[in-house]
Symmetry: C2
Subunit: 256 residues, 2 copies
Amino acid sequence: MPTIDGLTLQLLGTGNAAGLPVYGCHCTACEQARADDRLRRRPCSALLSNGEQQVLLDAGLMDLAERFPPGSLSHILLTHYHPDHVQGLFHLRWGKNTRIPVISPDDAEGCADLYKHPGILDFSQRAYPFRSFRLGGVHVTPLPLNHSKLTLGYCLEQGGKVFAYLTDTAGLQTEVQDFLHAAQPDYVVMDCSFPPATATPRGHNDLNTLLALHESIQPKQTVLTHLDHTLDVWLLENPSVLPESVRVGFDGMVLA
Amino acid sequence: MPTIDGLTLQLLGTGNAAGLPVYGCHCTACEQARADDRLRRRPCSALLSNGEQQVLLDAGLMDLAERFPPGSLSHILLTHYHPDHVQGLFHLRWGKNTRIPVISPDDAEGCADLYKHPGILDFSQRAYPFRSFRLGGVHVTPLPLNHSKLTLGYCLEQGGKVFAYLTDTAGLQTEVQDFLHAAQPDYVVMDCSFPPATATPRGHNDLNTLLALHESIQPKQTVLTHLDHTLDVWLLENPSVLPESVRVGFDGMVLA
Ligand SMILES: [Mn+2]
Ligand SMILES: [Mn+2]
Ligand SMILES: [Mn+2]
Ligand SMILES: [Mn+2]
Ligand SMILES: [Zn+2]
Ligand SMILES: [Zn+2]
């Protein structure tokens, strides 16, 4: 990736826990992804960079050791402890000669034995709703999300550039919507797991909910992430339905 | 892999939870594995084949969906629910149109939310020490191991061919040694995580313990698996110390 001045966010994974293609599925979206690696959706995660440091947002990718040589990550910032967001840590933790601070919601359980055997990971820093903190030059505000496990989104700001990273969530609390509207984000990267539904599904946004939140927050751009294959099928069958300010995320997408 | 008549066991992974190379480690063994993919050690696991069916022994590999197309595995047989032995299931479970029976020790906890959200995996079949069962033509006897979580090894027999797969364990109970001595295994694949130690380490065999068990069981061949990088370093510094009937396992090794 070329050096870009200022804050950038690269989407490393834009899939849900099943990913794309779904094992054993023969829907159009899954078959297309099987035929073309560029359409694959890996576990939902992103990399925040400001030229000085890299912060990994969620750790569900299974090849973190290959992607990120020791020292290349200043922090890992977790939204929550569901396996699809932390499963890459089960291996990474057993490294040597390095230490990675992991900032996460104050979830007493964590996932499996991560707290019991943290290895090179340091889980001591916890994030709390609306209690801002700094990561180097980046100003971070945790935002409470609506999910089946304690989950935080993050508003990330530096030099007038504002990203909001909001997954996994079903809708957003009014005070989160108000905060984000006031923050005037350049990009809102948001959970949109499912095609338009008559009611918001449990734990995740459908496209109707996402579009309503986009209207409420009014960022320059909203980017869909954490897609289920059913949404990809729906988007293939309903092209050009999204407003210009709403884009479908893909693995590798750089927001700058 | 060419078709081989009779029962075969292929070692898919021969590493411990850290694997080889260890993230951030610059020891001789880790640097050699970094330079030569064939020396890598992936999460400890194996594939049992008899020409009609394939049984996966442990599921710590992170690319199970790519390695095993739907329908290619008749069963998954788990030794225990530590993450390095089940982490590949967090993704695989979200498949469609297929079902994989997972046979495992009767561990009330499992790992993370695997029992809560089994997806395509069926965890209903449990294995108990010395209660034999059949998987197609294969006769399976679960053997109790000594580990920090409820763990079973398996004696696998068909057509006079006998494999014992014994990881993770620190030593073996006398009745397990007696059972295996009587079974006259062709191959004992056994946990050997650490270099020779004055006492058996917690949870895993060192080389002294493994050699003593090899003497006691007297299989045709004992194969080391679940190696820590410290054992690989020791083996590089102490070549040719193993008896001919004891071999160091490697990823991809086929035992037939
Ligand atoms: Mn998720
Ligand atoms: Mn989740
Ligand atoms: Mn293990
Ligand atoms: Mn274990
Ligand atoms: Zn599909
Ligand atoms: Zn090493």
